[in-house]
Subunit: 345 residues, 4 copies
Amino acid sequence: MIRVGVIGATGYAGAELVRILHGHPETELTILTSRQYAGIPINRVYPSFNGILDTVCEEFSMDAVCEKADLIFTALPHKIPMEIVPDLLAKGKRVVDFSADFRFKNAIVYEAHYQPHTSAYLLEKAVYGLSEIYTDEIKTAGVVGNAGCYPTSVMLPLIPLLKAGIIDEKTIICDSKSGVSGAGRSPNLSSLYCEAAESFKAYKVAAHRHNPEINEILSMQAGKAVSVTFVPHLVPMSRGMLTTTYGSLAKPVDSDEIRECIASFYKGRSFVRLCPDNQMPNTLHVRGSNYCDIGFTLDKLNNRLILISVIDNLVKGAAGQAVQNMNIMNGLDETTGLEFVPYPI
Amino acid sequence: MIRVGVIGATGYAGAELVRILHGHPETELTILTSRQYAGIPINRVYPSFNGILDTVCEEFSMDAVCEKADLIFTALPHKIPMEIVPDLLAKGKRVVDFSADFRFKNAIVYEAHYQPHTSAYLLEKAVYGLSEIYTDEIKTAGVVGNAGCYPTSVMLPLIPLLKAGIIDEKTIICDSKSGVSGAGRSPNLSSLYCEAAESFKAYKVAAHRHNPEINEILSMQAGKAVSVTFVPHLVPMSRGMLTTTYGSLAKPVDSDEIRECIASFYKGRSFVRLCPDNQMPNTLHVRGSNYCDIGFTLDKLNNRLILISVIDNLVKGAAGQAVQNMNIMNGLDETTGLEFVPYPI
Amino acid sequence: MIRVGVIGATGYAGAELVRILHGHPETELTILTSRQYAGIPINRVYPSFNGILDTVCEEFSMDAVCEKADLIFTALPHKIPMEIVPDLLAKGKRVVDFSADFRFKNAIVYEAHYQPHTSAYLLEKAVYGLSEIYTDEIKTAGVVGNAGCYPTSVMLPLIPLLKAGIIDEKTIICDSKSGVSGAGRSPNLSSLYCEAAESFKAYKVAAHRHNPEINEILSMQAGKAVSVTFVPHLVPMSRGMLTTTYGSLAKPVDSDEIRECIASFYKGRSFVRLCPDNQMPNTLHVRGSNYCDIGFTLDKLNNRLILISVIDNLVKGAAGQAVQNMNIMNGLDETTGLEFVPYPI
Amino acid sequence: MIRVGVIGATGYAGAELVRILHGHPETELTILTSRQYAGIPINRVYPSFNGILDTVCEEFSMDAVCEKADLIFTALPHKIPMEIVPDLLAKGKRVVDFSADFRFKNAIVYEAHYQPHTSAYLLEKAVYGLSEIYTDEIKTAGVVGNAGCYPTSVMLPLIPLLKAGIIDEKTIICDSKSGVSGAGRSPNLSSLYCEAAESFKAYKVAAHRHNPEINEILSMQAGKAVSVTFVPHLVPMSRGMLTTTYGSLAKPVDSDEIRECIASFYKGRSFVRLCPDNQMPNTLHVRGSNYCDIGFTLDKLNNRLILISVIDNLVKGAAGQAVQNMNIMNGLDETTGLEFVPYPI
């Protein structure tokens, strides 16, 4: 049994992580921390856990965490992880971090979009936590920078096609749509029910911090500079994320070749599902699960490929992928504890 | 392993049942039938099942069902079950039926609200499938008439208090609220998104067919005639049901006694959760799970008890309770395969 | 033209009031105040108003308000109005107040549920702003305590029946359901989209501050003590409120007599619509309008009357009724500026 | 007063049209037809109209319509209008048609995406009902082919920029999102609440029939062939449509020039609102109104312009624009009867 701790257990991603870890057959959930709810049992914060889990949330203490856990999930806003992860690593712990602090190789890019990085020396060794892509590196990683939700939905369908030279990297446009839970649990005006319901809008247009994250990883994967246009939108639903990606074909291919390219790339990987010919992805079909469903259409008239991918932003986009990474780090089957069947509705 | 079949696998309750049975450690799901989708794999009807289950739905055939399954779930509209269940029983099968056909002891009451009953002779032996109440009878039942969703939410909190003589049975009013999935998957005007969203309404006021079901069972449990006023409402959400029940106190009791009455009655039963003092039930806290959460308040000024109960109408109100009944019928722990942790959101 | 000012223009009720007053043919909207958005044009706070209204919100100033407006709407949390209304009245202004501060005749009841009342001497002259009931008193009122949203939905159907002695006042139970906008625009956890969506719950069970308001007014109307059991619930929708009221019949009446009782009571009053025989009220049918739709059913088996009423909580439950009261105060037709046709969907 | 009739009054667009025409100061609504609800008053079909309008819907009859109305709105599925409009015109009536039947100049394109056109000779004279673009032609039109909802949202922001040569016509991608009401009132599986809620999906990817409509009109406006990639998506909300359009800059311009280009093009046109600098369009801000809000961002890194436009699909995307066209046809101010202030929430 892996002794695991969750730092920041009461945000939406943290709570979803607690839900998943509670049912994981190879982990023992030994410590939950929360600044806001220290001293309060997790089931008073989320009554869903009544009768299931009543661990009392604690203030974060390095000593307590290190004593009780060997693998630590840090589900915190950026900036805090860079301050505590070095100590965790120094004490021999392994870490999966949910923030952006360990996602970038290039500290300058990070600092241009976040703030000065106080542990930049760790970036070289940190592994980007996009499970299907960096599997080998994750196995031995000390700290994994869990991939962002938007980047996960954007990159899983794109990477095989970029690597195969099928899509023209200068033409990529990613139009993403996210449920409201992506904004977290902190009360703010635009997350209110009455502001979000019957409302659809774009936000941080071509200015979202996941854009440089996408560009850096795609460039590394493609072996050349990739800069995508990225526009996120807010959907009146709790969970779910869909990205529609557009790109011109770099060479003449038909639908079968595209299908084969993606299918063979993800062969043996359970969580990427390529939709059958007459279906298209729908956030409802992956809700509550760790799947990423991918579909595509060729717009032959305009020589463009249209890729559509969906994930549950709190699962494959956060807590689920974090556990998948933990599984890989520990030599478990990557699906262990993650075999949630999405509800039919 | 129990060989199980689902007759009517493609309605919402049927599909939810398939989801649950797929993950059940003691069952083998051997046959799915569907009139509308015969010949089509279940994952083409519900793409959530892609990569998980691709059983082809068949037209119902008595021979095929009896050959492949030993326990049969009939998730069909009323009237059809009464026609096929006798044959299933005759062939030594056991049945959990989702319709009203085997819920009533009194055929006259059934016929007053449904239609002539062609298997009325089975009603005496049929067991009402409210798992926590008829546990012993369910163990050996041939056919279980799975409790209706509204009746489940209404009766679980009421029965202990009626039995204890705490609530005046002549004063009971049940104001119920259900998500839209209760109306099923057949397209009809009032289930359309644009008709249901931003809409709240009562329907079948004091005229719903679950009312006589409630009255019959409560009368048997209380040992005297009970007739409740029952008003269902439609809530703009997919899943979930909440019932607010009002009744005058039949004798002076305080909150502790009420709490103790309910708590002791359900001691050892995992799926009934009594809310702690400062919490009240919320459909979100049981969504996707088999829990029934119960809370209450004493309106001392008016000498009334207010009971609040929530369930997921597709789980404890349908497919989950059906599997719970199957577990009981087979000597398994009633929670087997049903330990879903409700999502934090 | 009536010169009107809105104190507290940027909450949901205030903004709805601005929307209505902007289109009112007999008013000139001369001043908007907002503590939070002072210095900001109303259309930057609510971009719906772009191209329509760009009045800059001001900090509240007694002098500025009194100079610019003759009728003042105070859409503020309770406690503040009791501090400023006396001065407004002293300067010869008339006031429609949205808070509870001027709704009670009995200061002791107010103080038991709110806080000490610093202008209790005004309560005797203040008029309760339930337009259809206190029409004559409103005509000459100095300050109108606009009726609460729940009380409006509860009392409009009940008052005719109580006055006619049809309903037993000792048996009244009001089960109310409100959209999320009733909680206002201040960010708080339970108003977040992810907390409210797919969620239905009761709150402040038999402990809501609208309960004593209802009891006081109903007692005055009935001419004897009335104490109702009142339970509010939260519905996942933005606007709308439905109340289901239960009461035993005090004398034998049939449906026609009940219909006649309500219809004749509200004869000539445009905003109370009695549903035809085969329809029941639905919040969608009054959304955005000042209507209160009423339906009913006799539960003959249990000798109970079930009343169902719906309003838009921000219109008839707040801003619309406030304008209706203003119309009455100024000798206008009560429907002036309020003839919104609810959207078909 | 213009005597107007609505053929197909009980679909969502038809009913919205009835709502608008009822309040229009210059029209008299003389006849409503409905195949499904013939003989039934409109307020029994849409109880929102109770107390407001109780016109009985009739079966369509050419004689009755021509006797009672001078301007006829045909809110019908395509194919039926092409059969009845010739007769209406022959009798001297003017028509605003909601279907695709009179939107195309090129019958071959129409026939490739719909069916054989039986009144193709009318296409040359028919005017495309995009009010702000074809204003002059609409003034004298006999039949106006009211612009589609998606095309309206796509083209209003694009046309000024295409005409100014600012955007490269070979690079245009339109990612559109629509509320569920766009699918109409006919019950079908994908419009059910439980299928649409918590669901976001693309549909008819690069295969929607509004794509050739967009291409034809844009080509005419740009004076050269324009072929856009168009992908519609379904949003879990009733009303509202947002289109995100991407295109490479054809020449170096800055934000001010883009703003000026759009602003000057729509100078004096009330229903196009260009968002201020720090705001972006939101469907909630136009809900229930005839506005089209436009915002934009320059993605300088990639030399792309991102245009965002929102409309209410039932108003500016259907009934509202139809009335705007009627106003123009009759020499009225285009805003007559359409000055709805969108609700703050």
